[in-house]
């Protein structure tokens, strides 16, 4: 048999698999989990406060009373070495310094893998810490190891990406999914008009936050901007080059039909803006997305991108640390309605056992240069 021919065939199969894995038409999105979507009310104005729910978090059993005493925390984000989690880590260190009686280290996998993250947490349980801060790669997969931590008297607080509620005590919610979805869709509709078409560049269809946001965006758009047309959603991992290529493909594929691009990750948004800039379509194709200000400054200052949606990740890490301190000190108990978070003031409790950081922040030309992360 001709080995060379078969090599070619095998490579062709490989290329085909890689090529077909990345696109999906805009049919029904349900967020990759079994939760119902909950679109906010249309138009401006703050959302009505949700009805109070009973506390549904877990409890650390037999935790030593360390109220006011020095504690050691470990922070295990989804992965280390990217700008976003460097920013949350900075917030954690800021809060630790401010509080004075908290020592915190950030450690985690270099890739966002569920079983690697589980092993890291497991090791820290064995090593012995007073509290674990986490951002989950998978809400269910991380639950057994977090429950193990709780059972050994270690306090557990999540931020950025939640676990199942009973596997941790509190979760600091940077912004509810439906709030982000509303901000994204409203910004897009304002920029391109009500009856135009858009496409989405996301990480993968399995990433919990992104999948959830897209589901909420679909629900909110259907409710409040029904004439907006959704062309396609493409996967681009969290890869710079791939995101740029996918955005360029969308621009070439749809031509004049495409009026807007959503970037769902801090990598996809600047890459989409770059693709629009390179195609000389600034002003014709709007880019709206989640991204850190530093990556977006060139495009915002050049007028190619008008709105960047995000919360402040430094504040997120900062708030998580204050929440943990309050739990250890016994100041944040089940049933509480707010918690004191240093310079952020009082933060409200929502959904039973979540702490709301605030409404999403929209960076634009007028304010983006005052941020540095």
């Amino acid at each position: 048999m001709n080995a060379k021919l078969m090599t070619t065939v095998a490579s062709a199969i490989l290329a085909m698999t890689l090529a077909t894995a990345g696109a999906r038409a805009a049919d029904h999105w349900d967020g990759g989990d079994d939760l119902a979507v909950n679109p906010l009310a249309c138009g401006a104005g703050p959302a009505a406060p949700a009805a109070a729910q009973p506390y549904d978090g877990g409890q650390a059993t037999g935790a030593p009373d360390k109220a006011g005493k020095p504690i050691t925390l470990v922070d295990v984000p989804k992965l280390i070495g990217i700008g976003y989690f460097n920013a949350t880590s900075k917030g954690i260190q800021d809060a630790a310094k401010e509080l004075g009686n908290v020592t915190a280290t950030t450690d985690g996998p270099t890739e966002a893998k569920i079983d690697e993250q589980i092993k890291f947490i497991d090791n820290y349980i064995t090593r012995g810490v007073d509290g674990i801060l986490f951002a989950a790669n998978d809400p269910v997969a991380i639950a057994p190891v977090l429950k193990k931590a709780l059972s050994k008297g270690i306090h557990v607080v999540g931020y950025d990406a939640n676990s199942t509620p009973d596997a941790r005590e509190w979760f600091v919610n940077q912004s509810p999914f439906n709030g982000i979805a509303k901000a994204m869709i409203d910004s897009m509709a304002k920029e391109i008009g009500e009856d135009k078409s858009f496409a989405i560049v996301t990480s993968t269809f399995t990433t919990p936050n992104q999948a959830r946001w897209i589901a909420e965006m679909q629900a909110y758009a259907a409710k409040c901007h029904p004439k907006l047309k959704w062309l396609e959603t493409v996967e681009a991992q969290e890869d710079n080059v791939l995101s740029f290529n996918q955005a360029t493909t969308l621009i070439n594929k749809y031509g004049d039909k495409l009026s807007g691009l959503f970037g769902m990750t801090s990598v996809a948004t600047p890459a989409s803006a770059e693709a629009v800039t390179k195609a000389k379509l600034c002003g014709k194709v709007a880019v709206v997305g989640l991204a850190t200000p530093n990556a977006m400054k060139p495009y915002v200052n050049a007028g190619c991108v008008k709105s960047v949606v995000l919360w402040n990740p430094v504040d997120l890490g900062y708030a998580a640390t204050y929440v943990m301190r309050a739990v250890v000190d016994g100041k944040l108990k089940p049933g509480a309605t707010s918690v004191d978070a240093g310079k952020l003031g009082k933060l409200n409790v929502i959904n039973g056992s979540e702490i709301l950081l605030g409404a999403p922040f929209i960076f634009d030309k007028s304010n983006i240069n005052t941020f540095d992360f």
Binding site: A10, I13, L14, A21, I114, N123, T126, G128, P144, T206
Partner: protein, 326 residues
């Protein structure tokens, strides 16, 4: 002098034993050093827990030793884990199979995936490296295609026994691994099947002319590799209580690292299951020990890389001494 040289070259199995002895000695030294840094390292609790965590990679490392002994490689195992996990979850939740049947079905799909690898490698003579790179992408693509971004959750409590439970104080899956190690070790050491693997790896053409059924044995070996990846997927799903299509990404590298560290030659013809078991334990305990001592994740993988290079250097210098020494 000549007699001595003859003795040495005839002492190949003894040299193999020496590599493992050396590795075991290094392992013990490393354990003692790491144990002296942190009193929580050398506890029964921690060691058993590490055994639990290394089972998924360990189960695949055993047939991978067979594959590498024949001079082949299987890079698709991580993707087979993902495909089997998805098969398990979907055949149970979406197609309504009873859970025990879904488990068997998932393991069978793993075996089938390995069988396809073996079939193309033996019948069409695609080099194993290229074939399994192709199926690495193909099987992962299938897993993602079937699951469409959904994870399967909500397994009943009894299902977690394998991944989280224990029997006689030892994690359940560790029993499976121990039995598998003994079976694989005896098969490679003491049976005609095992001898055939060495013969193929040492010189495939000679093995064919000696009348060994090279293709059939290879087909069995690659099927076994897929089958064990299926078992590994079952254990993993049971441990983490959920099914996702990205499960097992990167396992192939962890598995091959354990096998090679255990003294199996990547060119085929030599290696043992006992070496693989020590290599596996060494990587797991080094990672754990370093983490407990306060070394961060990124530094740990640097140490693992350095240990791998050192072990390959030691192995090749031992081999040179065996070949040219005396």
């Amino acid at each position: 002098m000549a007699v001595l040289a003859q003795n040495l070259s005839r002492g190949a199995p003894r040299w193999l034993a020496r590599h493992e002895t050396l590795l075991a000695a290094i392992l013990v030294v490393a354990l003692v050093i790491l144990g002296s840094f942190n009193e929580r390292f050398l506890t029964i609790d921690n060691l058993l827990n590490q055994g639990r965590l290394m089972t998924e990679v360990g189960l695949i490392a055993l047939p991978m030793t067979f594959v590498i002994v024949t001079g082949g490689i299987d890079l698709s195992v991580g993707s087979i884990v993902g495909l089997c996990a998805i098969t398990l979850g979907y055949s149970w939740k979406t197609f309504g199979f009873p859970l025990p049947l879904a488990i068997l079905f998932a393991i069978a799909v793993g075996g089938l995936a390995g069988f396809v690898n073996g079939l193309l490698i033996t019948r069409i003579r695609v080099p194993p490296l290229i074939m399994t790179i192709a199926t690495l992408a193909l099987y992962r693509g299938l897993a993602e295609g079937v699951s469409q971004a959904h994870s399967v959750r909500g397994y009943p409590e009894w299902f977690f026994f394998v991944g989280q439970g224990q029997w006689l104080g030892v994690p359940t899956q560790l029993w499976i691994l121990l039995v598998a190690i003994v079976v694989a070790g005896v098969a490679l050491d003491r049976t005609t099947f095992g001898r055939t693997l060495y013969a193929i790896g040492a010189n495939e053409t000679a093995a064919r002319f000696s009348g060994l059924s090279v293709d059939r044995v290879k087909l069995i070996v690659y099927s076994l590799s897929g089958l064990m990846a299926g078992v590994s997927a079952w254990v993993l799903v049971s441990r983490v209580t959920t099914t996702r299509s990205d499960m097992g990404i990167g396992y192939e590298l962890d598995v091959i690292a354990a096998v090679v560290l255990g003294g199996t030659s990547i060119f085929g013809g030599s290696g043992t299951i006992w070496g693989t078991a020590i290599g596996l334990a060494m990587i797991q305990l080094l990672k754990n020990g370093l983490a407990l001592t306060g070394v961060k994740g990124d530094a740990t993988i640097v140490v693992i890389g350095a240990v791998l290079i050192a072990s390959v250097l030691i192995a090749s210098s031992l081999q040179r001494r065996r070949e040219y020494g005396a």
